[in-house]
Amino acid sequence: MASALIEKYMRTDKFPHMWCPGCGHGIIMRSIVDAIDRLGWEKDNVCVVSGIGCSSRAPGYMDFNTLHTTHGRALAFATGIKLANPDLHVVVVSGDGDSSAIGGNHLIHAARRNIDITTIVFNNNIYGMTGGQYSPTTPTNYFGSTAPYGNIDRCFDIAELAGAAGATYTARSTIYHVPQMTNYIEKALRKKGFSLVEAISICPTSFGRRNKLGDAVDMIKWIRDSAVPVSKASTMSSDEMVGKFTIGELKNTEAPEYTQQYDRLIERLREEDDA
């Protein structure tokens, strides 16, 4: 199955990919094409947009219409693509820093508009490509090259942030929970509106090494042990949740979608003009 997916959706002539051995990003990329395959979308009608960072190299390996933009701006570019051509299925892949630090403003406004774009956040809790600086999702007290004494920032919950801003579908899963992650990505892609799946990934090279979390396998186990299903989390105290995060569907609602609203506006103006 995996090799058939690779054959069908990957630009294999671009391999080997540039990710480090043990990096979790390839697992998420595979989940994305798996979900697209289940939907049966034509490759010509899919557009994958990214910003800058390790995760943002994924579109280069995926055989769709692909756009690798400037740091943090993937959603702004994607918004132009989607509004100009609503027939395209627009997917944004983004890192935690890319989507919630430099691109935080675009994230909340894309969610507010409820434009039909799916964002997959590859969250590895660090700026990997630039060498391990702390990001808005680096847990407090963890280390980064710019947090040599331990990070004193509090961290963002990206999926909750998007949901609060108006996204109509948000979910979180991990590279340990692959079938669940793929499922959520598929549901996000199906959602007519702004959807976001936060995919918890690992960066053994920068985050793991600096925080003595062991090798890739140790890190995947660490993710497995820190992930708490939302239903279970609701029965746990905040003390019990320290060092843990929730996985599951966080929001699934309906609201008017932006490009449809725009088409309706054009339609209305035409009718008024004819009358």
């Binding site: 280069g60 219409n65 756009l67 701006r73 702004a76 918004t79 132009g80 693509i81 100009a84 395209l88």
Partner: protein, 378 residues
């Protein structure tokens, strides 16, 4: 023939010109004195089935326009000084990815928030050097409302023809001025569309050109060509390549696609320069005072003339050089403390005397000030 006279503001003429050229997408962020570009686009575009988008910030404004252009729409974004600064990174992105786009900058006083509603021409060097790295720049400077219309059409034409971002570098004087213009009839002005590959062409390479050519064909997302666009140095396939050999090849082509086509791109106006002993160079709104100063000087028996670059970048180097060899002096008049004069100085070298008159206090240069400066330099 029915005449189509209208009283129009410069910013309005810019949007009308854009629509004439086929603009169907505008995204931006409000900023004085460019805001009317958005307000008028917001009214007109949906009526034509086009899309208008007020984005969350200036950076998003240009980013969305680049995205729209990649789907085949003619797209524009507009701004003023501080917003132009914010857009710079993505101007570089559009340059290296070769995405057709028009960026309008209705200049205002700066630096920083500066003088929001006062005229200035302080972004001349920013237009050329604002984004990092080497890249070609086309920037056009309109002097009247009618020219706002015409040069916006031209900006789109050049953007589409050369697959490049084009800057319409206007100023508050022309942006906010109202003048009577004759709106061109459909077909009166040339409208150029991008060169798309033949449908279903196999082996489409988004950045490949035939020998001796400079501008690759551009496909639109969603038309059956699945290609990759990146701001990294890329080869003909569009995929990243960081070999120095490739970087050199790409940059050479990018620079040459403008340099080798300067005859097609360059545009300027001359007034009484045939026998001029003193040439006053002015552009945009300032050129109107320059013309008036030339008339005054001529009445006083001084052989003055005006040279007005409409393409301020690339600069009309050859013609400026010729004028410097003919005239005793060239004076540059601009609403800043000395920007384009540096370019003219580079071109003129020691061929003639060079004078400068500038202002950056929010007031315009008056004809008598310019005339007085001319007499002082002669």
């Amino acid at each position: 023939m029915k005449s189509n006279f209208k009283l129009m503001q410069g910013n309005e003429a810019c949007v009308e010109g854009a629509l004439y050229a086929g603009m169907r997408f505008y995204s931006g962020y409000p900023i004085t004195p460019s805001t009317e570009l958005m307000e008028i686009s917001a009214v007109k575009l949906p009526l034509l089935g086009g899309k208008f988008l007020q984005m969350e910030d200036e950076i998003a404004g240009i980013a969305a326009a680049i995205g729209a252009s990649l789907t085949g729409f003619k797209a524009m974004t507009g701004t003023s000084g501080p917003g132009f600064s914010l857009k710079q990174e993505n101007i570089g992105y559009a340059a290296i990815t070769e995405v057709p786009l028009v960026i309008v900058n209705i200049q205002r006083g700066g630096p920083s928030t500066g003088l929001p509603t006062s005229p200035a021409q302080g972004d001349v060097m920013q237009a050329k050097w604002g984004t990092h790295g080497d890249h070609p720049v086309i920037a056009l400077c309109p002097s009247s409302v009618r020219e706002m219309f015409e040069l916006t059409v031209r900006a789109f034409n050049l953007a589409e023809k050369y697959r490049t971002p084009v800057i319409l570098l206007a100023d508050e004087i022309v942006g906010h001025m109202r003048e009577k213009i004759v709106v061109p009839e459909a077909g009166e002005l040339e409208v150029i569309n991008r060169n798309e590959p033949a449908p279903r062409q196999s082996n489409y390479l988004p950045y490949s050109v035939a020998d001796g050519a400079y501008v690759p064909e551009i496909a639109s997302f969603g038309t059956g060509y699945r290609f990759h666009v990146t701001g990294l140095m890329h080869d003909e396939t569009g995929f990243p390549s960081n070999s120095s050999e490739n970087a050199e090849k790409l940059l050479d082509r990018l620079m040459n696609k403008i340099k080798m086509n300067e005859d097609d791109i360059l545009d300027f106006e001359e007034y009484m320069t045939e026998d001029a002993e003193i040439v006053i160079l002015g552009y945009g709104g300032t050129a109107r005072s320059v013309k008036s100063a030339v008339k005054t000087l001529r009445k006083e028996g001084i052989k003055a003339g005006m040279f007005r670059p409409k393409t301020i970048w690339p600069s009309p180097e050859k013609r400026i050089k010729e004028l410097s060899e003919q005239a005793k002096a060239i004076i540059v008049a601009e609403l800043n403390l000395g920007q384009y004069v540096l370019e003219v100085e580079r071109i003129v070298k020691d061929s003639c005397k060079l004078g400068f008159i500038g202002k950056a206090n929010g007031e315009v240069l008056m004809p008598d000030e310019i005339a007085a400066k001319a007499k002082e330099v002669l």
